[in-house]
Symmetry: C2
Subunit: 308 residues, 2 copies
Amino acid sequence: MTLQQLEYVLALEKTRHFVRAAELCGVTQPTLSAMVQKLEEELDCKIFDRSRQPIEVTEIGTQIISQAQVIIYQANQLKESIKSTKEELTGTLHLAVIPTIAPYLLPRFIASFKKLYPELSLKISEMHTDTIIEKLRIAEIDMAILSTPLDDPKILEVPLYYEKFAAYISPTEPIYKRTELSATDMPLDKLWVLEEGHCLRNQVFNFCHEKPLQSSTYEAGSIDTLVKIVDLNGGYTVIPELHIELLSESQKLNLRSIVNPEATREISIVIRHDFVREGVINAVAECIKQIIPAHMLDTRLKKFAIRL
Amino acid sequence: MTLQQLEYVLALEKTRHFVRAAELCGVTQPTLSAMVQKLEEELDCKIFDRSRQPIEVTEIGTQIISQAQVIIYQANQLKESIKSTKEELTGTLHLAVIPTIAPYLLPRFIASFKKLYPELSLKISEMHTDTIIEKLRIAEIDMAILSTPLDDPKILEVPLYYEKFAAYISPTEPIYKRTELSATDMPLDKLWVLEEGHCLRNQVFNFCHEKPLQSSTYEAGSIDTLVKIVDLNGGYTVIPELHIELLSESQKLNLRSIVNPEATREISIVIRHDFVREGVINAVAECIKQIIPAHMLDTRLKKFAIRL
DNA sequence: ACCTTTGCATAGATAATAACTATACGATTA
DNA sequence: TAATCGTATAGTTATTATCTATGCAAAGGT
């Protein structure tokens, strides 16, 4: 049984005439005849009584036709629903990402998303949280990925994952020998931090329960730079979990877990409340969730999240 | 889009594995791969995300799969419902027909019915109304075609058609010159009737408002005989409408319509009330209705029907 | 009674496609 | 780096849907 055979049957039911039904289906009469016969053979019952003119539908044929109509209708519904869903997933999506997430996530996300939704053209920018909020408000961007909560009533947050912080320690430091560290083990004087604007900077200060008295000698523009500074100048810094994958094997030896408390940051998709393309939100969210390791999706980690 | 492609997709959804899905469908992996790809191409969207292991269903894929399940379910329902309907239309049907209907109807009915329902084996007997009622009660027959109403509470009547009576007049009779006749024009002394047992005999008497005082010289066993008697011995008789088709062209000249009142008999299918094979009743009824001329199906003719 | 028309089925050829085997390729893992 | 797993691709074969041409039966007209 094929959908086409059912369509032939329905055309025949409409026209009660093989030649006209064939025309309706865009095939020749013998083709339609043969296909209807084949279906009748498969179902092992006559659908049409050809001994009458015009042909009549048999008792059982009536039943078959009404069920065939259901099937064909549902098949058309399938195509229809795809069409309306796809319209959502076309056009352009302006997406912003904070710099402390971008290096790991973006290359993977772009590759994966382009493959799944080739119709949706992505415009991605890297910017700090406050710029994102501003541009989101004026609709210059549609969506952003950053650390939450923002506590902004105009902005909707869709949590994605929870990322632990890790300490990156220079071998020259005494605390290098420790396997686990807590906030108090890392005084500010030897803590390298990102320059102002990065939410990660604030989170580190919040976590250490200290405020910087004065700006340090040097504040880095990226985590990558931060790590290189520690390598060359000693001291320590704090980096997010996903950045670990970007370190070399020897650099990974300088990592120490942070405990008591465990520190995480919540990463979310944020949009304006009036953003209507719900399918796009799901598409982006699902795509990202597939990229990051499964254990980071555990919402129980939310309780360790450091606020901005 | 074909039903088979949808089944491949559903198998893939179950297994999340091309090789195992292919096994499930009884085809090779490249076949299933190609068919799924083809469907994705036709619908112009990816259903599965193959970049993950095990493969995952896309956002839109979830939607497609749930609709595909509906379609496949409905397709299976079609086959199921045919099966249950067909079971009704198998086995044996014991059918009885009264002799004044049989000659015209049976040859046509048997041919047509066998073609439509080859699985149902027909056993047909000719018998008089009272025998039919008796055998129906003891379930020796399942169904009968006869003249109604019977007014029997155990028997259910399904009216089929209404058959007029026609007068068959010998050219030797004075009333031969008339084009129309009424009951009073045909006194009993020259009226040839069927032998006792035939309901048609009673209907003719009822119609003529007379009771036979004594049995006539000869009472015929069939309408065919009745006609031949008139041809050879003069007088007249009354025959049912459908029998006209069985007369020769020259015999048809001896026919006169009966008016004032028009006389008809109601022909029905009768069954016991406990007869369960509803599909069989419809099958027989529809088949007969296709055989007899359309004007005889007009239920307005019921008001001219002569009781038994 | 004969011919024509109408309408579906059948036969044989052809084009489309679903299926196969073998193999490449990409991603993980040892 | 090789081995393994899982899917895609290439090339071939088998199947089948479709075509054109024709047969055949029934109904209608002359």
